[in-house]
């Protein structure tokens, strides 16, 4: 099989912990099999920061917690035929979305940042300031699942998803015969 016929995959970690990317490596020796079929384009795994060309599959880890996440996710949607939400954060916001539910005041974002940087019991922040470097992307009012921002084609559950479910899903998608997950592979943790 020539290089040109290989499917191109792009990946990105948005508001996630990078655990789902680590889980891609849990495919273990089957990676060799997979790499015969695919080539990675834009991805932290290749350290490529931009798309070199349109990709067949985009794999998204993490939900959207800031404006850059939205921008990147939209870029992925424009540049990929199929988008896969990988793991609970991309699917439903995951742990970062806990901040959606711990707001008590009328200014929830302020409350969140103050707790995180100033008033929290375990904070040692000698500046007593909320970081505000111009290079920092603005936070969103809430953490959003990816499907709120763009249309998502497939979602692979897990935190992180197992190597098995990632490998099985990718290989059946590449073969054009994905018909859902084996029940024993479905895990939300």
């Amino acid at each position: 099989m020539s290089e040109l016929e290989k499917a191109r995959i792009a990946t990105v970690s948005l508001a996630g912990c990078f655990g789902c990317h680590m889980a891609i490596l849990d495919i273990d020796e089957r990676l060799i099999e997979l790499m015969k079929l695919v080539e990675f384009d834009r991805s932290p795994l290749t350290d490529m920061k931009t798309f070199t060309r349109r990709c067949d599959i985009g794999i998204i880890e993490g939900g959207c917690c800031n404006e850059e996440n939205v921008h990147v996710l939209r870029d992925f949607r424009r540049n990929c035929d199929v988008l896969i939400a990988l793991g609970q954060c991309a699917i439903m916001g995951g742990l970062p979305a806990m901040r959606n539910a711990i707001m008590h005041s009328d200014a929830p974002l302020r409350e969140c940042l103050e707790e995180a940087y100033i008033t929290g019991d375990y904070i040692r922040n000698t500046t007593h300031q909320i970081p505000n470097d111009p290079a920092l992307p603005l936070l969103l009012d809430e953490v959003y699942p990816c499907s709120d921002v763009v249309e998502i084609d497939y979602q692979i559950p897990g935190c992180a998803p197992s190597g098995d479910i990632i490998f099985n899903t990718l290989s059946s998608l590449l073969a054009g015969r994905f018909h859902g997950f084996a029940r024993e592979n479905i895990k939300f943790d």
């Binding site: 609970q88 439903m92 979305a97 806990m98 539910a101 029940r183 479905i186």
Partner: protein, 239 residues
């Protein structure tokens, strides 16, 4: 003189039943599993979660409260019924804060296990309601996080009918209805770690927390890491 025993069918399988038995009781005895969350062995039937919805004689009913009847034709594992159940389970996921990765009930949680069984993996349009209720950690051995409660009332019934204590009850109405305790907080009730209502069995999710035992069982060895929920009942049939 009591009425004679009779039979009815679930998805074509003949089920023997005694007068007064519910569809679910007869199905359980015959090794046919009907998914359920609020129903629990040894407790009064509730009919609240509606996950045990079946079609009986063409009408959708809760199998846990609907009496079986001679020659009744019941549909259980159809695509249509399972879709309804998936919707209901998903509603419960979205009503509370169910973050499986950080919940100590994960792997032993019946809500999660039901989602696995019903293949709740598709995209959702349901919004997340994200409740923000204070956790009650006042009791030395027990904590209560009602953000994870699915309103099954199993703890209420177990405490009332088995422990004869009445530690738990509902307050409020509608979407604001929630489990509360018979006192200003758990420490001011007669709840005890040895209560049936507090046992691992009764709370299907991670709402009632036994302190000091969380995360003890490694992933892979938890109740639903292997074997689907309901496989114990289905196993009876194979024997």
């Amino acid at each position: 003189m009591s009425d004679p025993d009779f039979t009815f069918t679930i998805d074509g399988t003949t089920i023997p039943a005694k007068p007064g038995q519910t569809i679910m009781e007869a199905a359980d005895a015959a090794g046919v599993y009907i998914p359920r969350l609020c129903d629990h062995e040894g407790l009064r039937h509730q009919g609240g979660c509606r996950v045990c919805t079946v079609k009986a004689g063409g009408r959708s009913v809760a199998a846990c409260t609907q009496p079986a009847a001679p020659k009744l034709v019941v549909e259980n594992e159809t695509d249509h019924i399972n879709k309804l159940r998936r919707d209901l389970v998903e509603m419960l996921f979205h009503e509370g804060n169910h973050l499986c990765p950080i919940c100590e009930a994960s792997g032993n949680c019946e809500l999660q296990a039901m989602a696995y069984r019903l293949d709740m993996t598709g995209p959702t349009k349901f919004p997340y309601l994200e409740p923000c209720r204070a956790v009650d950690a006042s009791h030395p051995d027990i904590a209560l996080d009602t953000n994870r409660c699915i309103s099954c009332s199993r703890c209420i019934r177990a405490s009332q009918d088995v422990d004869h204590k009445g530690v738990f009850g509902y307050v409020g109405r509608g979407i604001h209805r929630r489990v509360a305790v018979n006192g200003s907080d758990l420490a001011h009730t007669d709840a005890d770690i040895t209560d049936h209502a507090i046992s691992a069995d009764v709370c299907p999710v991670g709402c009632i927390i036994r302190k000091g035992v969380g995360f003890a069982t490694p992933i892979g060895e938890r109740e639903f890491d292997h074997g689907l929920i309901g496989s114990d009942i289905e196993g009876k049939r194979r024997e």
